[in-house]
């Protein structure tokens, strides 16, 4: 095997093991999405009767948000794991090995992709059991996972950039607060038609809006909506920008 691919592969295996070590760490990312999905779908179901609301149940409307949120929460852990590696000295050990720096970053992204896929599958099973239907079928499920995984990798880069720049666990952990404005300044809870004008305009500038609407289109309407393409564009754009900044931060950290 090519040495770059081999480095990427073995570092990925090491990182993937971090996902379930310890096993209990797998549970928290599911708690809040399931809690909010359950509470909101039960308490706000009447919203679906409001004129202007799409012809779907509120439960189906917010189902994409539940899957998205689980991945959103856990992808941020990449930065914390990197700070731990830096603080323990393990990161230094990697740096003085004859391995490609890009392999270190890609291995981290691979971990995030595997973790997102696993969490996405579990959330999807839970939602299907709850009665949610995916109108776009199996291929739609694959498209949903693709959007989520690309977004998760991009979002994990923000944690990694912060880890490399600050090397401070508290600062990296505090990035968690960004999740809420990014998640709620969107059409996650209410369709655009029912949002006040100013709020709707704000959501236009939030890339998470396009990701949620793309997934929602796949869940509620099947194929054909331009929102699906916008979701891929938003996630892909974030991925390119943040991976570039992560590589830049990697180089800078070595000076």
């Amino acid at each position: 095997m090519n040495t770059f691919l081999s480095d990427w592969y073995y570092l990925s295996i090491r990182n993937i093991k971090l996902i379930w070590r310890p096993l209990l760490a797998l549970l928290p990312p599911f708690f809040m999405p399931i809690f909010f999905f359950a509470v909101n779908s039960l308490s706000l179901s009447a919203l679906a009767q409001v004129p202007g609301f799409p012809d779907v149940s509120y439960k189906d409307f917010i189902a994409p948000v539940a899957i998205f949120t689980a991945i959103f929460f856990s992808a941020g852990n990449a930065g914390i794991e990197l700070v731990q590696d830096i603080q323990s000295g393990y990161f230094k050990k990697l740096i003085i090995m004859p391995i490609n720096r890009l392999a270190i970053v890609l291995a981290k992204l691979t971990e995030i992709a595997v973790q997102s896929l696993g969490q996405g599958i579990i959330m999807l099973i839970l939602l299907l059991l709850w009665g949610v239907k995916i109108q776009s079928g199996f291929l739609g499920v694959l498209a949903i996972f693709a959007i989520l995984i690309i977004f998760a990798m991009a979002w994990s880069c923000i944690g990694m950039i912060s880890a490399l720049r600050t090397q401070n666990a508290r600062l990296v952990q505090s990035l968690f607060i960004l999740v809420f404005p990014l998640l709620y300044l969107t059409t996650s809870q209410t369709p655009r038609a029912l949002l006040p004008t100013t709020f709707a305009q704000i959501t236009d500038f939030n890339p998470v809006t396009y990701i949620i609407e793309g997934i929602r289109a796949l869940v509620l309407n099947g194929w054909g909506s331009p929102d699906i393409g916008y979701a891929f564009l938003a996630a892909g754009g974030m991925f390119v920008v943040f991976v570039t900044f992560t590589m830049f931060s990697f180089r800078k950290a070595l000076k």
């Binding site: 830096i86 603080q87 393990y90 003085i96 004859p98 600050t166």
Partner: protein, 270 residues
């Protein structure tokens, strides 16, 4: 290419000035011969860790030249990393991996074959007496076990040169003796060892040649016997005190030196 004239490490006019102006290393030059057990001593804040980190490019030098095994450092990093092992002050272990998993990963990242990896793991676990706990998570290890395992890790790819930064820091006398015995054995087998320490007994016990550094400069150099004779001292501790004096002011200066990999801990440099 290999060591020139028996010199496996050549350092010329090496300096390091950190952003902010702290001069941690001020134009030092020295050579280490192949197979030598070389001691790099100095009080806290003398610039030892900055120097050893510059020798493996973990800290970028401001100026000067470093040649490792005949190769210019900045032009041949990957090749040099294959030839050196480094047990750092921070025992950088993967807390959620077992010792065996970590050794296997290291072997694979150095592109060793599976047979080589298995043989080297058996040898190293025996050397550092950790065979029985090889399949336990490293987070369960005591301080001494962690140091010994870190030493094994730095030896996994069979380096020609071993850099050790305060390898017995915080260890009890038994654990220190155990590490010393391993190091003596490795040196006897031909490995060049570059050791930084501020334990004078350790340096006297292990090193063929010693340099003492203070305030970023080398203040004296020679074998332990030569140094004791030269400074009219009974032991290395006396040599150390005579050549470096009080180290407190020095510590204050270097407390300002940023560690690019340990800022959040306020990680100290020596």
């Amino acid at each position: 290419m290999g060591a020139k004239n028996g010199k496996i490490i050549e350092v010329k006019n090496l300096t390091k000035t950190y952003p902010g102006g702290t001069k941690a290393v001020r134009g030092i030059s020295f050579n280490v011969k192949a197979g030598e057990f070389y001691g790099f001593l100095g009080p806290n804040g003398a610039g030892k860790t900055t120097t050893i980190n510059m020798l493996v490019n973990l800290v970028k030098k401001t100026s000067g030249e470093v040649i490792i095994d005949g190769l210019k450092l900045e032009d041949n990093l990957d090749e040099i990393y294959k030839r050196v092992g480094f047990a750092m002050q921070e025992v950088g272990l993967d807390e959620v991996a077992t010792a065996r998993e970590m050794l296997q990963l290291h072997g694979r990242l150095y592109h060793m074959t599976k047979t080589e990896i298995d043989a080297q793991i058996s040898k190293l676990l025996k050397l550092v007496e950790l065979e029985k706990v090889a399949d336990k998570f490293t987070s369960t290890y005591s301080g001494g076990m962690r140091r010994r395992f870190d030493l094994a890790l730095s030896l996994m790819h069979k380096p020609k040169i071993l850099f050790l930064d305060e390898p017995t820091q915080g260890l009890d006398p038994h654990a220190r003796q155990l590490i010393w015995a391993h190091l003596r054995q490795l040196n006897k087998e031909g490995m060049t060892i570059f050791l930084t320490t501020h334990f004078m007994d350790e340096a006297q016990e292990l090193c063929d040649r010693i340099e003492i550094m203070d305030k970023g400069k080398i203040v004296t150099e020679g074998s332990p016997e030569e140094l004791m004779k030269k400074h009219n001292a009974k032991n290395m501790e006396e040599v150390f005190l005579k050549t470096t004096g009080s180290n407190l002011a020095n510590e204050e200066v270097n407390a300002n030196a940023p560690d690019p990999f340990a800022r959040s801990r306020g990680g100290g440099r020596n």
